[in-house]
Point group: D2
Chain length 338, copies 4
Amino acid sequence: MVITMKKQATKDQIDHVVKEAQACGLSAHLARDGERTVIGLIGEKAQLAARDWRSLPGVEDAQPAQHPFKLASRQYHPESTVIRVGDIEIGGGEPVIIAGPCAVESREQILEAAHQVKAAGAHMLRGGAFKPRSSPYSFQGLAEEGLKLLAEARRQTGLKIVSEVMDPINLPMVCEYVDVLQVGARNMQNFHLLKEIGKTNKPVLLKRGMSATIEEWLMSAEYILSAGNPNVILCERGIRTFEPYTRNTLDLNAVPVVKDLSHLPVIVDPSHGIGIAKYVPAMSLAALAAGADGLIIEVHPRPEEAVSDGKQSLNPAMFRELMSQIRPRSRMLYAARG
Amino acid sequence: MVITMKKQATKDQIDHVVKEAQACGLSAHLARDGERTVIGLIGEKAQLAARDWRSLPGVEDAQPAQHPFKLASRQYHPESTVIRVGDIEIGGGEPVIIAGPCAVESREQILEAAHQVKAAGAHMLRGGAFKPRSSPYSFQGLAEEGLKLLAEARRQTGLKIVSEVMDPINLPMVCEYVDVLQVGARNMQNFHLLKEIGKTNKPVLLKRGMSATIEEWLMSAEYILSAGNPNVILCERGIRTFEPYTRNTLDLNAVPVVKDLSHLPVIVDPSHGIGIAKYVPAMSLAALAAGADGLIIEVHPRPEEAVSDGKQSLNPAMFRELMSQIRPRSRMLYAARG
Amino acid sequence: MVITMKKQATKDQIDHVVKEAQACGLSAHLARDGERTVIGLIGEKAQLAARDWRSLPGVEDAQPAQHPFKLASRQYHPESTVIRVGDIEIGGGEPVIIAGPCAVESREQILEAAHQVKAAGAHMLRGGAFKPRSSPYSFQGLAEEGLKLLAEARRQTGLKIVSEVMDPINLPMVCEYVDVLQVGARNMQNFHLLKEIGKTNKPVLLKRGMSATIEEWLMSAEYILSAGNPNVILCERGIRTFEPYTRNTLDLNAVPVVKDLSHLPVIVDPSHGIGIAKYVPAMSLAALAAGADGLIIEVHPRPEEAVSDGKQSLNPAMFRELMSQIRPRSRMLYAARG
Amino acid sequence: MVITMKKQATKDQIDHVVKEAQACGLSAHLARDGERTVIGLIGEKAQLAARDWRSLPGVEDAQPAQHPFKLASRQYHPESTVIRVGDIEIGGGEPVIIAGPCAVESREQILEAAHQVKAAGAHMLRGGAFKPRSSPYSFQGLAEEGLKLLAEARRQTGLKIVSEVMDPINLPMVCEYVDVLQVGARNMQNFHLLKEIGKTNKPVLLKRGMSATIEEWLMSAEYILSAGNPNVILCERGIRTFEPYTRNTLDLNAVPVVKDLSHLPVIVDPSHGIGIAKYVPAMSLAALAAGADGLIIEVHPRPEEAVSDGKQSLNPAMFRELMSQIRPRSRMLYAARG
């Protein structure tokens, strides 16, 4: 149920609605829609129907929820969410660029990559310390050692750090080192992990599962939001289809759809989305034109030596060239969106 | 087999290679790669191996074919193909915009639509006279009457006409009225139709099948090219995936891939690709940013009254607004590509 | 609209309903549901609502159509359809086995194959004279020469002939030679072809398109039925998914679903459905257990020499072994269904 | 690398190969192929190439690995694995039937279900105590209370218990109560969970992920096997495709493929695989005919009251009827396989 208060509704009237809701066993969530307050109510059907919400003082309208996701929906939270990581704003109008290697491989590699992407204009550094690999015999990441190297790269460059957390046990440790948690596609429905992340306040980049529908993806965001963490950034990274030429099919349709259904910011990962380095720049520009709030791009100092995902990693020169195309464009694109 | 001649190769040397190829039972196709001539040979393995092509005078190099498609590949035809329809160039650097209703419904409707899209800056008019419908009980199009109305719209507006041909029997009639033939997704592997179109010289917009791989799509282009018609325009219109929210999944990955593998121009159909009118503008801009040579967009004077595809049709105001965003952007995007 | 007549309804009462329907501009189709007559009405909503059908004498009930397909649905035609090809009954309780090579390659090959599958117990011979190939450079079939060889194989073995027709132009010629027309997966929505086949009375094996939904498949059957040909046999042959190990994903779910939604018989093609010969027997048995009315299996005298589809063709010994497993099983399976 | 010892190889010769392998840093795994011993070696390419394994005494042959999965492959372990749960053998020739409700809802419900499926002939009881739900607002299971009720059902009926474990933290608790751990489709690539399960000795039913390839599924089995737990049972439960009529597309192709590539037993879940109760019996029979070692079927005392998955749950009468069809059939099917 979504209750829209009148423009001139008083704080007392708002508090009154919230108390009535709680008395019915509902949870109440406040958000803004321009000058109005919106109160989202979550609970069982019977509880929601227990009252004639429209008759409460200060209430303008009350509408049933349109979607199974509530806190993630624009109906419950009409204004776009801007997530702040230091002085970087994700969803604030300027595209945010996250770049770096698939995995932290060595001190030299990650520091070199960090300085290169910083110089080219990236805002954050990506790099996996825990790697979800299909084979138990493949490199699984440097674990805490990798996180320490990322922290060192931050000290040297000022870049904020994005890195994946794969299970609740390592969550406190990962939180200590990184600025943004990443939940990988394979863990999009690892509900225990989502709930634990929901108890922190860390920004989290939630990748779409390989065959997750848009609704399921937003329901996974809902797990984090409903556990108390409002800082969810969605990340489209390609879905699995029949097409064998590309690694995945980047579903840019999802960008305008999710920006319409939800208030959460959306980042696109063209590297996994197409899987071939030479095509990543075109898909980066397409993602921004579709309305993405930023990009996460794999860049490796020497892609041909990368332990993983070398085929889809840009080298530093390609990344610099791409950044030089993004900058003027983003200014115009974002101007147009107003 | 692809033979690259030396820059200074003479016409006689080129003719000599062609004659030798024909003597081996091969077909030979000439194309340009900057200042060099490229000769593509097509035939059986044994025939191709019958000669040491590198030893012929004027030959610089000879390489086996990298793909099952030959005439459609950049290897056989390194320079991008520009297809001319009157004074419109498809693939020439400036995005070409084709717009109009799903189906020709009446004289009034198609003329109104034609004037509206013309005023907004479209280059060509689309409109189906023969409609492939999943149900035998649905409107199947006005047939020749529809083609005549399209021709009248051309006379009134100067817009070139794109319309679908569904079977070889009606091909001569459709050719009489339209400037560009359209082959629909369901007919992408209607090989008899492709061969017959290959015998004409009409430009043809070849839509990708709903679950066709990129390779299969280029092989369908190969059917038309190898039958003698070089004027093939590829059209990405969304593929079928598990995602239920959108009508199809627009595969923009296909744009940079096909532009790399093939010399043929690529047009994107965001209307079918996402299937919901309010999201079409975002996907139009994304398609151009990905490198598309143009767009084909459904526009109806009154989408809510459309006999088919109303849900995905822009109204004239939305189309005007989109065109005002495309114009400056395309200038910059195309400048950048230079 | 489906009208169920009372058990004791007279012929006059039935004729009266039909005449009333025609007077409203509806087409009326008669079928049996045990001892009752069922009258299916097809037309526009307004026409259907023009009358209170329940008030006509002899009418027991009138229900709106549940599906967009009408003549193909069990609602319109409650009794299972049995299609007779000579003395073979498809849908009659005993599984029908169609076997033979992908393509007719030579007189020797098709006659050898025919004798082999006949000896093993097959009921019909398959073999393509017109082959839909993704490449214009691949073998396209022997055309009429192939059809003549199939006819000769029929004379020698008594086996009925199933062969593909790819376009309306060749339809009269193919009809002259074959007992069952095959419409391939790529042509499932070649509506012009479907309409033309609908004007004949030939049994037709309608393959499901590579990414066709069950509903679309039944709508294609509806094209043939509504044009006047009641002899449609559905053929599940695998759908396109992300799984690369098998050629297609045989969708056996479709068998019980279609047998429930429709009265038409269903044949399964495990050869295309899995694409690897050694796994075809397991999928053949699974298809029959799921409720299929028969199988169409690729068998080649020497699969390793086959011009096409050798990888998925059984050799004669494998086919004999499979037939020896099918025979007792089918007796039991069909007894159980009784 | 797979080393096949001679039939007459001595224990000393086998030990010698193992020691040499360990000296090269490889792990060595012994299995039987009829009368021969097979030694599977796992390690880096350089380590595997360090020795000429064929020259060691008692060695007949040494072959490189054919697949990225090793311990899960038939090459490394030629004999089919039979997993014992009490006196039940999974993979032993007789199909094993696991039945019960989606979730443990109450003491009354689970005990009633247990007695019903026991009476009909089931071998094990399924029931979720921890439920992975797309919505955080849906019933998440009774947790330990549910496990206790399952244990009580075992005491009353003698049925072995299968229940899902969703994260490593609850693993010790779940192990205490259940006989077979279940890993759900959403957790197939929760690698941390797989590794922890690999450290136990509990049999584990590993469901295929919704869009997991067969190779990825076997790689997930490899995670468990390589961590030390040999008791992996694979479970096909349907993949995600474009078809909207059924919940998933049951991929029975996977049954013969996996039985060929791997020595592990395969169970099929037709309830999730098709998602509609009335079609579950047909798909159960099809799964056994395809070669499955057993079935896991949702049965609820009153499906219409089920908290989850009621639409796909058989009622007790439907389950009894299905069991009466499976019994004679399985005898014959398994006899045939001999």
